[in-house]
């Protein structure tokens, strides 16, 4: 059995690689995700009213945030033999070109089940001003080392 799980305790913190979106990176994400919503492409469109919300210019895809969080988890898990099993996110504020966002996580609980071992984490993403732009929860598994991921 993997011993990595034994080192995972509540309170353990992770910090991911900062990501600095630009107009070019947002366009690259459009091409990579096939999501060409004008929210991410058209400044004139983004100057229009969205009900109570005013954006003023293009914003990064929320799912780019999701990908940055997911990368933090897999960068941590792969060397430990762990598996990324779940991620839930809520978007709190838009991310714009010129921002720098940094994902972080803290282990909240461990759970040994009938067949495996899991941990849960709270995840956050903050911008360069320390503002919360995304929050959520993740679940990771530490299976038997001989088991297929």
């Amino acid at each position: 059995m993997s011993t990595a799980f034994d080192t995972i305790q509540p309170g353990l913190t992770l910090t991911g690689t900062p990501f600095s979106p630009t107009r070019e990176s947002i366009r690259a994400f459009c091409d990579a995700s096939l999501d060409y919503n004008p929210l991410h492409l058209d400044d004139d469109y983004m100057k229009t009213s969205f009900g109570k919300t005013q954006f003023g210019g293009i914003i990064m895809h929320g799912m780019n945030n999701f990908g940055v969080i997911s990368r933090m988890l897999t960068d941590w898990l792969y060397p430990l033999g762990g598996v990324h099993r779940r991620l839930e996110t809520r978007w709190k504020a838009p991310v714009r070109p010129g921002d720098t966002i940094t994902p972080a996580a803290v282990v909240t609980a461990r759970k040994v089940t009938a067949k495996s071992r899991f941990a849960t984490l709270d995840v956050t993403v903050r911008n360069q001003r320390g503002e919360l732009v995304a929050s959520g929860e993740a679940m990771v598994e530490f299976p038997d080392m001989d088991a297929q991921p």
Binding site: S33, D35, P38, L39, V68, L87, W91
Partner: protein, 158 residues
């Protein structure tokens, strides 16, 4: 492995064909399309989020890993959602705002997989003067194994 599939990049083009919030029926399946996931598409996604892990780029490394070959990162469903749906799918409506997502991962997607999506709106509601739809989705590979499943919450254009 090069992609031969072309996708519409102008989301205004088919706007009149898409269902608006009033016409979306919770429980009704969405039209979906099979999609062959290429290594090129996987790596394009990885570069876009700055994720250069060798499990996605280095075949020799990946073969010697527990995964026994190149895989896609878990969040590849970000691409699959649009790759597996047609241009008139309401997820492409300009002004659609993503409010949150929850995804569970089973087996990794791999280059060459032929991906199938089963998707539907699950719920719709009005909250704080905004029109919401909950959608749920399951992606399968060609062996009928679940790759991942998830729900998303979008605010619909009025």
């Amino acid at each position: 492995m090069l992609s031969t599939q072309a996708f519409e990049t102008d989301f205004w083009k088919d706007e009149q064909l898409r269902k608006v919030w009033d016409q979306i029926v919770p429980g009704e399946p969405r039209k979906t399309l099979p999609y062959t996931l290429t290594l090129e598409a996987i790596q394009k996604y990885c570069r876009a989020v700055g994720d250069m892990h060798p499990l996605y780029f280095d075949e020799a490394y990946a073969k010697n890993s527990p995964y026994k070959g190149l895989i896609a990162p878990p969040a590849i469903h970000i691409l699959l959602m649009f790759a597996c749906t047609p241009p008139d799918d309401w997820m492409r409506s300009p002004g659609t705002i993503n409010a949150g997502q929850q995804w569970s991962y089973n087996v990794p997607a791999r280059p060459g997989d032929v991906i199938r999506l089963e998707a539907r709106a699950l719920d719709k509601f009005i909250r704080r003067d905004r029109l919401f739809v909950i959608h749920d989705n399951v992606f399968f590979n060609q062996h009928n194994q679940v790759i991942c499943s998830g729900r998303g919450q979008t605010i619909r254009p009025a």
